[in-house]
């Protein structure tokens, strides 16, 4: 419990540092935001007015406090680019609101695919004494890890969409319309995200199990009269799963990152696409919030994984 408290403090500090880093990063942008919005022709008065509107005339610390205070209260600021109507600026929160579920569901489906497929695959691989299977899986996983996710996305569209006609590329169904249709469509981008990670995780688990099999306690288990199955599932698997937990935690961050790219390939209206288009149009308030949000999610996931690990591994939790 003492450890939990320590980690919680460290989590808060990390979150704070990330928020400061993100904020500072967007303060040192070359070129003036105001000029980029109004163009070079605007009058000085108009520029000063906009500066005040955006809060750019205040000192940095005050701006950070205002910004972060707003974020904590749920006020995420307003977009430079989008507007609700002529006189009303677009709140970032509204912009993100209906895009968030798309990305979260995509990442969740991908993660489920990764865990459900890679763990049995890794165990099977470690357990099998077939040279052929070993070589086959070795080549397949090496290959799968070398394919970039956007190319995988393109291949999935080509194979499942164009050749096999299992879905119509570009015909995204909003979750408002049909939740089942929404999930059915997301399966395909999720496959594109998952394939390299499945390969990585399966390899990792297999190597972890083979490493455990060399440990002395395995010999002890055999000396008691355990069968190979019992040694594998009763002793080795639990020990080998410990590092895999941490590994999967790291994968989650990459799954989130992967979804940013894959959303683009499948034209999904998630926060990844919003992020990319906001970067292209230099819509910094939106980029800032999205970066902060994704970083928070990732750091929080790390925290959860770390806690889980502490609970499950008696070598650590017993201290």
């Amino acid at each position: 419990m003492k450890y939990f408290g320590k980690k919680l403090v460290s989590l808060i500090i990390t979150l704070f540092m990330v928020s400061v880093a993100t904020f500072i990063a967007f303060q040192i942008i070359p070129g003036d935001v105001v000029t980029s919005i109004l163009g070079t022709e605007a009058t000085e008065e108009r520029e000063a007015q906009l500066r005040e509107e955006l809060g750019l005339d205040k000192p940095v610390v005050e701006r950070y406090v205002n910004w972060m205070g707003g974020v904590l209260k749920g006020d995420l600021g307003t977009s430079y680019r989008y507007s609700k109507s002529m006189n009303e600026m677009m709140p970032v929160a509204e912009l993100i609101g209906d895009k968030l579920p798309v990305t979260l569901w995509l990442a969740a489906i991908a993660l489920v695919l990764i865990i459900v497929i890679s763990i049995p695959l890794g165990v099977l691989w470690a357990h099998s004494s077939s040279k052929f299977l070993d070589a086959f899986l070795g080549v397949m996983t090496q290959g799968a890890m070398a394919v970039p996710s956007f190319f995988l996305g393109v291949l999935v569209i080509y194979i499942f969409g164009i050749v096999m006609k299992m879905f119509t590329p570009g015909s995204y169904i909003s979750y408002h319309t049909s939740f089942a249709g929404f999930l059915g469509y997301l399966i395909f981008p999720a496959i594109a995200i998952a394939i390299p990670k499945i390969a990585m995780t399966a390899r990792f688990l297999r190597n972890a199990m083979l490493g455990e099999l060399k440990q002395d306690y395995v010999r002890t288990a055999y000396s008691k009269g355990c069968s190979k199955n019992r040694v594998m599932y009763g002793h080795v698997l639990k020990n080998a799963m410990m590092p895999v937990i941490t590994f999967v935690g790291m994968i989650i961050a990459e799954v989130v990152a992967g979804s940013i790219v894959v959303e683009q390939v499948f034209s999904l209206p998630g926060i990844g696409r919003l992020l990319i288009s906001s970067i292209s149009t230099r819509d910094f308030p939106v980029v800032e919030i999205l970066v902060l949000y994704i970083a928070f999610v990732v750091i929080f996931v790390y925290f959860i994984v770390d806690m889980l690990y502490r609970v499950l591994d008696p070598r650590i939790s017993g201290r």
Binding site: A146, P148, V256, I294, A295
Partner: protein, 271 residues
């Protein structure tokens, strides 16, 4: 040189070596000469399927895809190389100093490292790109910054592992200076681990660069890029699937070659 005696060729080494060699040759040749001009357009030869004249076919402007792949390969490999060299150099310096000396500097560096590691790498490069703007130099700069922490981490953990080894104590007792211990005594011992992580880093840099270029925020025209080609090609999947496949498969072969080579070296040095 001596090491060659121990280096038994294995399948990984051969396959990876051949793939990497082909890619390197294509990239180097491509910077000086390509079979066709990469800019000349030809409406007549639009979407020509692969043939003896155009071994990868032509694109929507009738340009030779193979020539463009060669150019793009050059860009991609240059970005990858510069990124790992820059990030690797910083990684060795910072990792060696923090790992060996420890203390509060190490503590601060590790906190910064953790904070950076909190971001998925592509997200961080997106931040740097959005701050600095797009283009080849900025992609290199962004990826270098993003890759530094992972190199620091690897080098640091190797130095922590080695700093309490008896041979380091032995050097201290002899009166060897700290800098000499760091870079003459310890450094050669981490090179095999480090070179493998350089290869992994190179692959990640290539994947990140092509990913960013695919998203349209990486390398900008007129610089050729495999990622940009793939995103252009995606619209013509019905009519000219070879366009997308050429660019995509080239990236896969490049990455696979390097990772097989790394695996081969790892297996060799373990035996």
């Amino acid at each position: 040189m001596k090491r060659k005696h121990h280096l038994k060729l294995n399948k990984y080494l051969v396959a990876g070596g051949i793939m990497t060699a082909v890619m390197v040759i294509l990239a180097i040749v491509g910077t000086f000469w390509t079979p066709y001009s990469t800019t000349t357009m030809s409406a007549a030869e639009k979407f020509a399927a692969p043939s003896l004249h155009h071994i990868m076919g032509t694109d929507n402007f009738g340009r030779d895809i193979f020539s463009r792949v060669m150019k793009g390969l050059g860009t991609t490999m240059m970005v990858g190389t510069l990124v790992v060299v820059a990030a690797g150099a910083v990684g060795i310096l910072v990792g060696a100093l923090t790992g060996f000396f420890g203390g509060w500097i190490d503590e601060v560096m590790m906190r910064i490292n953790d904070a950076i590691n909190g971001f998925p790498s592509i997200l961080l490069s997106l931040v740097v790109i959005s701050v600095l703007g797009m283009g080849r130099q900025n992609v290199i700069l962004a990826l270098s910054i993003v890759f530094i922490p992972s190199f620091v981490r690897i080098v640091r953990s190797e130095y922590i592992r080695l700093r309490d080894m008896e041979f380091v104590n032995s050097a201290r007792i002899m009166g060897v200076s700290k800098m000499r211990i760091l870079f003459v005594h310890i450094l050669p011992n981490i090179l095999s681990v480090f070179s493998i992580s350089m290869m992994i880093g190179f692959n990640n840099a290539i994947l990140a660069e092509s990913g960013m270029s695919y998203l349209g925020i990486g390398v900008q025209p007129p610089d050729a890029s495999l990622g940009k080609m793939l995103s252009d090609a995606q619209g013509y999947m019905f009519t000219a699937p070879w366009y997308a496949l050429s660019a995509g498969v080239t990236i896969v072969v490049l990455v696979l070659g390097i990772s097989l080579l790394g695996e081969g070296i790892r297996r060799c040095s373990n035996d």
